[in-house]
Symmetry: D2
Subunit: 367 residues, 4 copies
């Protein structure tokens, strides 16, 4: 009998979500004669059983669209806000899964989604996930869709800032997304030729950054572009963070990057800019890209990636291969167990080829 699959998108926006939904859905309808239903607003919609029909008409024309036609939310199955409280709704979700007679549930999301999907797998659901996030920090996949588009947007921003920096003899600090991993700031920094790149993986010494900027000034280049990831911290801040983590190991709640309100990143960026002004005597300007990096038409590469991971996903469902994430490996796709992915963050290794490359072209990495 033809399989019946559900699909949802969870976590932050990422360009390519619609391309992936279309890939899963078109392969299901055209190739395998499966039926497919969407759940709205992530795990919340699955919990509330709010569905969206996904036939050929609904899947048409969405390839180039940003966002997700299904809507998304950051709600987690086991800590869902219901009536003012955070409740474990995993059983309700499992019930809806069965009431809908689903054979499989496709979850499109980032690191958090892998964890949530694993919880549903442990409840006996046939889950299968696709790795999306502009941060590129999901483990065991070469790349996540959304990253290439965000890379293009952030690089284009650095390109624009370059020309205005040139004219005005100043420092421009541009804050780029990335709480825990510096892939986006590092990639865009290299591609855009930033003079300084600061990422969470390498705590920075502001004096070293200022010295690099002054040295450029001395060589007749009185402007500098500083690309800083949201999660980049100074050596001092890093030490404090470590101390806090050690000091309060048993207070129940982990210090999570997600708990930092977004405004704190902005404040940190402003502080950095002011420090650099004082240490260099140059004027500084700030740009905060924010959600620009999540929006708009996905890049060609992201659409291609999302389409082929989406169709590979349906292929795996057809073969009854569940409990896995469909990872990108070279030109192909590989099923990796959710247990091996969940809870892991892929950060930039200190000796990664991108970091070496950045150093080789003369970029200051803050250390």
């Amino acid at each position: 009998m033809a399989k019946y699959i559900g699909i949802l998108t969870s976590g932050g926006d990422s360009p390519g979500l619609n391309a992936a939904i279309r890939g899963v859905g078109k392969a299901a309808l055209n190739q395998y004669g499966m039926q497919i239903v969407g759940f709205r607003d992530g795990f919340r919609g699955l919990m509330e059983n709010r569905t969206m029909r996904l036939d050929a008409g609904e899947l048409s024309g969405i390839l180039t669209r940003g966002g997700t036609i299904l809507g998304t939310s950051r709600d987690k199955p086991h800590r869902m806000p219901v009536g003012g409280k955070l409740l474990d709704m995993t059983d309700v979700i499992a019930e809806n899964y069965h009431d809908n007679h689903l054979d499989a549930l496709v979850c499109l999301g980032g690191g958090g989604t892998q964890k949530n999907a694993l919880r549903l797998k442990e409840k006996g659901l046939n889950v299968i996930t696709l790795p999306k996030t502009i941060d590129n920090d999901v483990a065991l996949t070469d790349i996540t869709f959304g990253f290439d588009t965000a890379l293009a947007i952030a690089t284009d921003a650095i390109d624009r800032l370059h020309s205005t920096a040139h004219s005005h003899h100043r420092i421009i600090v541009v804050e780029i997304m990335g709480h825990r991993a510096g892939w986006l700031a590092l990639g865009a920094g290299i591609a855009g030729g930033a003079d300084v790149i600061l990422i969470p993986e390498i705590p920075y010494a502001v004096e070293s950054v200022a010295a690099a900027i002054r040295e450029r000034s001395r060589r007749g280049k009185p402007f500098s572009i500083v690309a800083v990831a949201e999660g980049a911290v100074s050596v001092q801040e890093h030490a404090e963070q470590q101390a806090t983590r050690k000091a309060k190991p048993k207070e129940g709640k982990k210090v999570e990057a997600e708990d930092t309100p977004e405004t704190q990143y902005a404040e940190r960026t402003v502080r950095l800019a002011k420090q650099l002004e004082q240490l260099t005597g140059l004027e500084a300007r700030i740009t905060i890209l924010g959600h620009l990096q999540r929006g708009g038409t996905p890049s060609a590469a992201d659409r291609l990636l999302a389409t082929r991971l989406g169709t590979a996903c349906t292929e795996l469902i057809d073969r009854g291969r569940y409990g896995v994430m469909v990872a990108a490996r070279g030109d192909g796709a590989k099923a990796v167990k959710l247990e091996d992915v969940a809870g892991k963050v892929k950060t930039v290794p200190p000796d990664h080829s991108w970091i070496l490359s950045a150093r080789h072209v003369g970029t200051n990495m803050g250390d």
Copy 2:
């Protein structure tokens, strides 16, 4: 004898400056057999006699480049920072003008530059100006170059934010340049379909804005894009500003928009976002475009405009027509006296066709 002309760019960056320099210079060299010399970093370079040769080679390949090959500064002839003091260097500038045997001086700039050029005209120099600014707030010209490019960038930003707002049920507040005039926020807001547009010319009531957002929510649209110009203020803030201006009329120093540090605009934007969160119960996110709006390749329309104003400028110099700004009028150019332009800011009239148009498509203007 062939004329010898100097050229400089002053004030903030604006896409199209190089296209205009090329237009002036190529017409001078190719068409009229004039010579041309650039002064670096605006009026400062003229004061310090720092020049840049502008031959066919230097003018080649710059049409598409952002920024200005001459560099720019905000220094004013009559209040120039020299040795830690603000000195009147107008006479030094006039001396350099004569020592260089210039027949004319072309100044590319915005509102401030018109005032500075007028001062030099009053010293007897043959000045002629071109209106550039992304703010479009120069008087007596249909449009300024730089505006179309900035409009495209800000509109593209709103487009991107739309998709992510859709997915997430939230308010996104996007701050757009414009201290005194709302052209850019208004134009981009209409072109991008912003739900709310706040401009300096129309003080806003935050409750009215929140009511419009709630009303959208009621109609099933739980996301809203708020385009806010840097200089937009609430009715209360506006009243305070007016009171301050009346209270201190003789304390010598005018309360100028330029005196507001850029960070204050950001803080105002953050405050607005927080107020809207409280009044609507929706999550808000902030994007601050900043200098992105000044950088990068000029749009085709801006290059066309800058080229034809530039060549028209050289034509006017050939005819000995000085002391004027080369204004855009329809497809052509018109010389308007510096006296008629200087000190005037072109703000958006309350009954302007763009405002009517915005209201007609259902946009909340904050009032």
Copy 3:
């Protein structure tokens, strides 16, 4: 009683059509309490009474979309292909207009549409038109929507070709739309810095073009970009065309530009490229942009223009002002009589400021 208005799009595609439909429709619904209905595929849909509901939902999210949600066709009311014959269906159209109890009919189109609308006006219908075409050749309006987007696309193409021309020492001939008027090729040629610009209004001498290219080569620039409008012809071809027109004045059928099949333009472009190869000894390459110039998201300026002409159109309907085209004039809109527009083509005057500007920066115009 609330008015009921019909709307259709006719002729070739043009970016901004959906923005204009939205402008007309949102103003009608939000501001004036009118109802609005769309007719599909231009005058054909009106003849066949194929309608499309246009409520707030349908008008939402179309601002950024290329094409037209209504569909379009080149069918003319008085010569419509029906059952293999060209029949005059004007009366049928008038009947449908009345059967639908329309108070007004909005026709979005180019030059041909103005003529067709005039015919319907003469039948007593309350028609009102908006000027759209990427060619910018509609009379009595400053500009048509679609032009700015096409200008951006064609200019971007020239930008891309520039870099590859540089590397390879060659001539690149790029064919740009424009059968009868050279606005697009001229504007993009100036904005993109083409070395040669050939437009229908100025018959060219291929030897003069080749000489200009050789002269560039002599000055160390062994590459040249030639921007050629579809309708550009050599002096010889022009003379032949004129002779043909004079010789056959009474054969009933005018020699119309529209009758030239598109492939003939391509063949002419290929021939030009080969002639230039022979005359210069340089390799030539050809790019034919074709319908690329009609597609995709409209530029910010086009969306702004289409929105304000659309809302102005509804304003005029509210005031009962019919039989006019809503022309762009400066920042505003102006109603011009259809009789004054129909049948007129706005070509580039030989002493137009753009042509002077192109010559001033050293562009070869083929003469």
Copy 4:
């Protein structure tokens, strides 16, 4: 003693060449204290000893530029046009290499360049190559730089054509580069959602294509986008090509794809469009992207790739690792022997994941 390295770019243009030159050069100067000299116009410049100084100044600001600052040519060392004849200039090249006291020669190019570099290696030169081509058809590397940019351009073209196809009920045939390999047409076709994709690796039956288009029409989609690679042939043409190759095995000169003049591809595309018109009764339109696909600012991904391959190249030179191509492998780089690369074309395998993916979403592949 510090090494002295030469660098040249050979073959067709490809976005990212300057980024790669910068990567090699900056790493050489900053990291390893090497000196570097450029040779102009590919192997021709090396033969004629025309050099270009490459210091920090020359390498600055080129990251975002299309084309190559060194110029390029298609001249081969062993068959170079000199005085009207094709001569073997390999020894002259080797002599210049030694006269310049080079320690290594970096050659940036595609498939042909790998062969030419191997010839120089066999003459004892320390050559090392980087794989660039928009066609992505170089063996043993995951990807070549230039491909991602061309993919973005071709996909953007399909996006634009989609909207105009929608409005007008027609077939649009878009010719995409790729003589021997279909990577670009396939990738852009998937990313742009083309309805039909024709590549050299899969000879097509025009009747099957027409049937697919008619079937779409029957399902209410009266428009279709056909993405066709330059080298795509029908089953009949393929059979003829095979017969020709078998018939003339010993006539000395191989039938090479490069020998097909570019106009022949265009003629083939026109013929296909006409056939589809006849078989479907729908109007067809043609766009030929041509050299657009080679030009302009490289994409962020291409700049990142070119930079890291460039810096990896210098690292290999430092370690004395010659006679290899620096291939992309995952995030890193791998040295592969020139002998293993030269003369091999990486075509799309018939069961490649991209082809499966295209079929799964319902794309007609012409078979």
